[in-house]
């Protein structure tokens, strides 16, 4: 599992959903959160943050700049090629998930989700990173 001290950026246009994601992460044991209400703000934070974020959890469907836009920007920058990126999507957007995978999303989670669901996804991402490192 991830080290509980990692820096997490939570991106969602809905206040309630940012609170929910943060709450579930706190239940797992994480402590360091930053919130952003859309992809553009998130991108700015990602570039400026020192030390850099260790994990992005982003909603897909947001006005202004979507989660997919954010993912594109992140992956286009060599500094963030391997930055763990978890996308949260509504059921209706499931068919578009293939597109996100192509663009390099680390994993995705379908709403509504539970704390167990989020934990599983984070573990899967962590394993993937570890095995990539080993290889």
């Amino acid at each position: 599992m991830f080290d509980l001290g990692i820096k997490i950026l939570v991106v969602d246009d809905m206040f309630a959903m940012r609170k929910l994601v943060t709450k579930v992460c706190k239940e797992i044991g994480f402590k360091d959160f930053t919130e952003a209400a859309d992809g553009a703000i998130a991108w700015q934070l990602i570039q400026e943050s020192k030390p850099p974020f260790d994990l992005i959890i982003s909603d897909w469907n947001m006005p202004n700049s979507s989660g997919l836009d954010l993912l594109k920007r992140v992956r286009a920058d060599s500094r963030f090629k391997t930055l763990p990126f978890l996308m949260v999507t509504a059921e209706a957007e499931q068919s578009q998930v293939a597109q996100a995978i192509k663009l390099g999303v680390s994993n995705y989670m379908i709403k509504p989700f539970t704390s167990e669901g989020l934990k599983d996804k984070l573990e899967a991402i962590h394993k993937k990173i570890q095995s990539a490192k080993a290889a």
């Binding site: 809905m14 309630a16 929910l20 539970t114």
Partner: protein, 451 residues
């Protein structure tokens, strides 16, 4: 092993109410004796702490200022995964049913319009959780063939006593004689308990397959589908959200599809049979609008009028302006309204036309004219313009006639059933008395000849 949220027969069902409103209280009245209520204000911080044990049903009221209802929907569906999650909102609320459902509500009830649906939904839900209690669903008698062994019990509804009485038992068939007797007493619906409805659907699907070698819809399903279509149409029309030209077009197309469905179902057969076939069972505005629309189209077809589709579309839309009238006034009988309230009620005609403009619906001049004149009466006692006689277009007269006809034949609690032909005879008799002569006697006679 029993889990925490599993209810047994004797346990009460846990209902979580988020943001309690009088409308919510009104909606849960029927199931109050069997529920335990937990309450929560509608604010995000409170909602982040889920209640224990897990509720069986969540009912949300209207969101207060500053709370985004879609956020509440998403939050609740995550916090209470798989729990039925209902929104009870005001019909004129600036909300779209579609997006609310997309964001996680299991159902959205717009009151007062959806009152009947909410009551039925909760009663059914409660009965299925407790595996106890009976809820009845109406099925068209036309879907049942004499002599077929039925695997479900059937019931008759007695409106005067508001009771369902056993008619036939599972395993038995309904003989031709009995069915004919039902038809002659103008009972177009039998009732089946909700937990046996799947057996009815199996039976009707099998029957349709053997007749047509293909699965189409039974009459019961067709009217259910129709009423749902009207409900969706009204949901969009009643919302006070601004609409684009595109959505206006979509609404008209939806309305026209409903109308075509009504008119297609009328090919062949006697008018009397068709009324039995078409009537949507229910004492709510959706059923009323669907019925007025189909009866008006039926009369217009019988009289050989050219603009049947326009008449039917006007029939669907004629009362959409009611969303702007105080629901308490709408619910009252005309005789119980004060003069001021009556004027407020009469404004619905103008509101219906305003709605059509605001929602950017492109409809013909005739549709607008029919709606404008649908409460004008032949003797000049109508409104808003108190038009007399032939100054009211014949299409509007037909719609008004269909409106009155539906009012007379609709089955409702505490009211004796009346046969369609007797209803029309009563309207004809009223044309003899000038104070009651709301319709052209000649027109009513022509329509009566169709029966």
């Amino acid at each position: 092993m029993a889990t925490e949220n599993q209810s047994t027969e004797n346990e009460k069902i846990c209902v979580l109410i988020v943001g309690r409103t009088p409308a919510v209280d009104d909606g849960i009245k029927g199931i109050l004796p069997i529920v335990d209520i937990k309450e929560m204000p509608m604010n995000i911080d409170a909602l982040l702490d889920p209640v224990e044990p897990m509720p069986s049903i969540i009912i949300c009221g209207m969101p207060p200022e500053g709370v985004n209802i879609n956020e509440v929907a998403q939050l609740l569906s995550s916090q209470y995964l798989g729990v039925t999650n209902l929104l009870v909102c005001d019909v004129a609320a600036k909300l779209h049913r579609d997006s609310l459902l997309k964001n996680g509500f299991s159902e959205v009830f717009m009151l007062p319009l959806d009152k009947v649906y909410l009551t039925q939904y909760l009663a059914e839900k409660a009965a299925s959780i407790r595996k106890k209690g009976k809820v009845y669903k109406s099925v068209k008698t036309g879907d049942i063939d004499p002599g077929d062994d039925l695997e479900f019990d059937t019931f008759l509804y007695l409106p005067l006593n508001n009771k369902h009485v056993p008619y036939t038992s599972a395993g038995a068939a309904i003989p031709q004689k009995k069915l004919d007797k039902l038809k002659s007493t103008v009972i177009s619906n039998l009732y089946v308990s909700a937990n046996q409805m799947n057996k009815f659907y199996e039976y009707s699907a099998k029957k349709l397959k053997s007749v047509q070698g293909d699965t189409t819809l039974s009459e019961t399903e067709r009217t259910e589908k129709l009423r749902n279509a009207v409900r969706n149409l009204f949901g969009t029309m009643f919302s006070e959200l601004a609409d684009s030209t595109e959505s206006g077009k979509a609404i008209v197309t939806e309305g026209q599809n409903i109308v075509k469905n009504l008119i297609n179902a009328k090919a062949g057969g006697k008018i009397y049979e068709k009324i039995l076939l078409l009537s949507v069972d229910g004492n709510d505005l959706y059923s009323h609008s669907a019925n007025v629309s189909s009866y008006a189209a039926l009369f217009a077809l019988g009289l050989g009028l050219a603009n049947v589709e326009d008449i039917a579309l006007a029939g669907l839309l004629h009362d959409v302006g009611l969303s702007r009238v105080n629901p308490a006034i709408v619910a009252k009988e005309e005789s119980q309204r004060t003069p001021v309230e009556q004027v407020a009620y009469q404004n619905h005609v103008d509101y219906s036309l305003e709605k059509i403009i605001e929602k950017k619906l492109v409809v013909s001049d005739l549709v607008r004219k029919i709606i404008l004149q649908h409460h004008e009466y032949f003797n000049g006692s109508g409104y808003p313009k108190k038009l007399v006689g032939a100054r009211i277009c014949v299409e509007a007269q037909i719609l008004a006639l269909a409106d009155r006809f539906d009012e007379l034949i609709t089955v409702s609690e505490g009211k004796a059933r009346i046969k369609p032909i007797d209803a029309m005879k009563k309207i004809l008799a009223d044309t003899e008395v000038s104070s009651k002569a709301q319709f052209d006697q000649k027109l009513v006679k022509h329509v009566l000849e169709l029966f």
